[in-house]
Symmetry: D5
Subunit: 149 residues, 10 copies
């Protein structure tokens, strides 16, 4: 796990030093969304070879670092089970408050099963609102029915 | 917290006994979404008086139960910090994997602040897909900038 | 969660009183394996209506209990995160010792993704061995590739 | 514990740098399965001397490293009790959901005792399936009856 | 787990009411040691049928209770991971202080493997000593070598 | 605590490099048992000056290291409360399963009090057995009665 | 553990109903201090028979309750590891802040060993002080040297 | 917190190297007790300037180190909530066993409030006893009544 | 602790049934603030006798309940260490984010010591603001200097 | 997270070396309060560019450090969930004791919602008092009503 962490920290350091943006880095690999690329650069997703090379070259990474970016990482981006950072905690809170609601409504609509977090995509964008702009997040995960056997 | 829990369990019992649905119960109070009403009936949101009465009468609740439904509850629907139920765990996992991505992209788009989990709405629906239908969840939370002082 | 727990305890009590077996109960519903049925009777899987009725009648359950058996349960069968029961702990230990090995070999064979615990089946049987019989467990879970987007 | 960890990290680094595979490394020591060898290289099993030397020479390890590989390690491959990595978590979930089922069915078939995690072997392979290939894992552990005394 | 707990509490209550002793109860089933019988009556081991009946009749248990005593229990006798009771804590402390010593000396003598806690027997007795009597505990567990495969 | 840890790691490294054994090191200080000396070299017990010097010289430790070995250490040899290593876990399991049995039998024999883990000695040896050799551990701790005042 | 807890709660209820004091109850059994008796009535120490009877009769306990009071209890009076009650937390804090100081000074004065919490007595009293009265607690525990063997 | 920790470790190293004692170091600053000075040198209390300089010069600390010794530290001397070291654990046990007794007796004598751990002093000394010397600890903390408002 | 909890639940039930308010109840005992009285009725502070009687009579409590309200309670109002309720969590978050700031600024202004949570008063009120009203909380705690001795 | 931590530690070191104060550093950026600036320098708030530059130049930070100070940090200033430092613990205790009171009174005054910890300001100052000066903290957070939808 440390190998990937070292690459992640190197990326974060370079991003700040050069005033880069996550969106800008994602544009170097147009087949992938900014959400996927950001997660990858933060150590949570592997990058395909071409993407790893495009971004790695831009950021001055070594060949070894670029290989590491292509490995499936040991996932989990948070240092504590209950996140202390307020922005991230709000998502934890949503799961705490709405967890049983997600369960009730998905079972009612689809039957027994889950929403996949693997066959999953996500989109995060600004939603203009005269009362103050809003963060809009759309999540789409395949419904996977529990297999009976 | 026990007062509300007793009402929640009574609601769950009656719903099963009478083959009711969360969506059906939500239609008794058309000003509110099925997501809000389900969360309320699961003990996570208060109901306005008219909604509490409409649903309470339908479910055969007592006057006291109907009052309890209108109180802001002690929120938190899950029995353990890391949820053991697989459907709910997948949401926990999304926060674990994407937590730092949410943080990076929201700060990049909006600056320092958070997505509110209070001035928040959510919509959960079926997304047809030939490769298997998907669960689609749209979350919208007001961006709240950190106040400098 | 309590509704299901009450039914589970009633089932366990009756099973002991009448000297029944899990395998015997599973034979009442031949389309399902003994593994699925046992998990269901222990509160971890819903039963289809016909299976719930066949077993419920056999065990003298009420109509309400039989309905509860058909609801997707809040899953998680263990009272503590690290199980104290030695038989169950050994499985926890296998995950602790072999977790990174599972990860390394699945990624090597299939690429980035997971083995589904939802589209999953399992078979547990006796393996005769002159040095002492063995427990043989075969698990089969669909490989789900991480979606890139 | 740190002595072994340093060797594990050195192995992981070299494996990525040279584009090696776990299976390929295991073929250097044909008397052992890929599952055992991978677990050993990830710090969870000792290697016999010949295997340690064969693999150590291939990977350019020092004589001291090769000795360390032969020591029984302090086992436990995961950084947290509940694993955050989704692939590994699915196994944790299986224990959580099926733990009491394992217990019920093993006791029913064998009486009081456990499935050994020590006199244990495991095989992980691809199972072709037109609906999507599957991960198939076969575990075999000796049944150990509780001694009465 | 509650079924067994209820029987355990009934046994403890009767033992106090009638001024019985664990050793005395164990003498009702001479084929078993006082250590095994005490553990069984405290809910940690199943009793063979004849022992369950002999002790159950003596204690005035019901037929159902006597059946419950014969079931392999969900083991784990302590309410917290770190025991608060000073007598029991001292054993926890011995594992904390001597755990790595046990590991070092067993591996040195036997190679890689464990001392079984299943094929295990124990004897607890008074050791007279002019400087104050001592508690002497002898544990004997089969050495189980890790299987290579 | 770090001062002692550094010495422990140095000892472990040298022991592997030179193919030494714990028993062999203990023979350098004949007044002490192999159990006590191993625990001391693993950082859990102080060594008397002569023993620290005899072993320190053998292992090439510095004068400072030899002084550190004579200091009462901050005890506790395990990295987690529930040990992940299977050999050590089995001892944890014995305390979990037999904790209340230890308490019941010691109180029955001695009255209210504890078995000392301080005025304590231990002996670990091989017990030959045609069905497979066994680990035999004898513990002897002074009974300390609770003082009434 | 529940048997004792029921007696403790009965004692607490009666003490409030009749405006009794712990000191007053302790005076019924003059051979014991108010500290020991209060701890016993709060479920942490057994009472000798005569004391259990004297206090039990005064409080209207049953014969069974009086027997329960004479049993060594499962000790540990606090519902959480870190106590939430501010008065009790201050003692937890003293251990946190002064723990290493206790260790350093006791080892310096006595060598390797501990202060017994079993051969222990305690006295709590008011210390008059013009700047505000103080709580004075004197603890006396036998020094137990670690046995070398 | 690291700044202070580095100074603490430097002090501990020098103390061992030069065969110093805590009491001896405390005598360099006669206005302060050995208990306060030891706690300060272990990183739990700030030293007044003159004391920091007297001891710092003796120990060969830098000017920066001496300044750090005067800063109020982030207190808490133990690496885990439940201390693993047996000497320190005994104090934790006393709080666990006697916590509710402290609360009962202080409230009975003083009313609602706490014993201060801030306006607090402590004295630890040897108490001669023919049955074995004892550790005697006297604690004195100001009673602080809860303010009503 | 259960005695007080039962009274608290009875108060909460009656308050909802009769549409009472915390402020209204506090006006029955004018010498105390609404903050203190609410905390007391929620089980965190004792009430003086006259206040307990005035409120107890109003709420129809028994004489025993009224006595229980006058006892110093075992404090701690939250079911989990990290509160799940969003309103209460925000205060936990403030301590997490600003904890070191509180420490830095209080030490800078006052020297080594703490802000008392015992000699403490608090006032919570509405602060009108055209951009949306605000919650204003003023806390005042006596500074307690650490005693040097 | 490490990038910011390194800058925080550099700031703390320099502050001690040069005998600076938090208030003095805050005066370098007059548009911001001492509370906000201290939190920022302790790693909990980003600084606006001009403030980061003014303070960074004063403290001799690098250009990279000054950029890091402008990034929204991963918040959470405490090493453990329950803080061990007594000053900070008192705030944790206030949340534990008064948490349900905050909830009750805010809901009573404002209805369902929370006090924002984001649109929040705080002021900490000395309150003179003949009985001993007090710490006065005023918190003001916008009330955010739960959105119904």
């Amino acid at each position: 796990m440390n190998l990937r962490l070292e690459v992640t920290e190197k990326i974060m350091r370079t991003k700040i030093e050069r005033d880069l943006t996550w969106s800008g880095l994602a544009r170097l690999t147009p087949a992938l969304s900014k959400e996927y690329v950001t997660a990858a650069l933060l150590g949570q997703m592997p990058l395909p070879q071409s993407a790893a090379e495009a971004i790695g070259v831009e950021l001055g990474l070594t060949d070894f670092d670029i290989k590491v970016l292509q490995e499936p990482p040991y996932r989990g981006s948070l240092p504590t089970t209950v996140p202390t950072d307020p922005l991230i905690y709000r998502f934890h809170e949503l799961v705490s408050v709405y967890g049983t609601t997600f369960k009730a409504l998905i079972h009612e609509e689809f039957g027994d099963g889950i929403m996949s977090a693997i066959d999953f995509r996500m989109n995060l964008e600004r939603e203009s609102d005269p009362a103050g702009d809003r963060v809009s997040i759309t999540m789409s995960g395949k419904f996977l029915p529990y297999k009976r056997y």
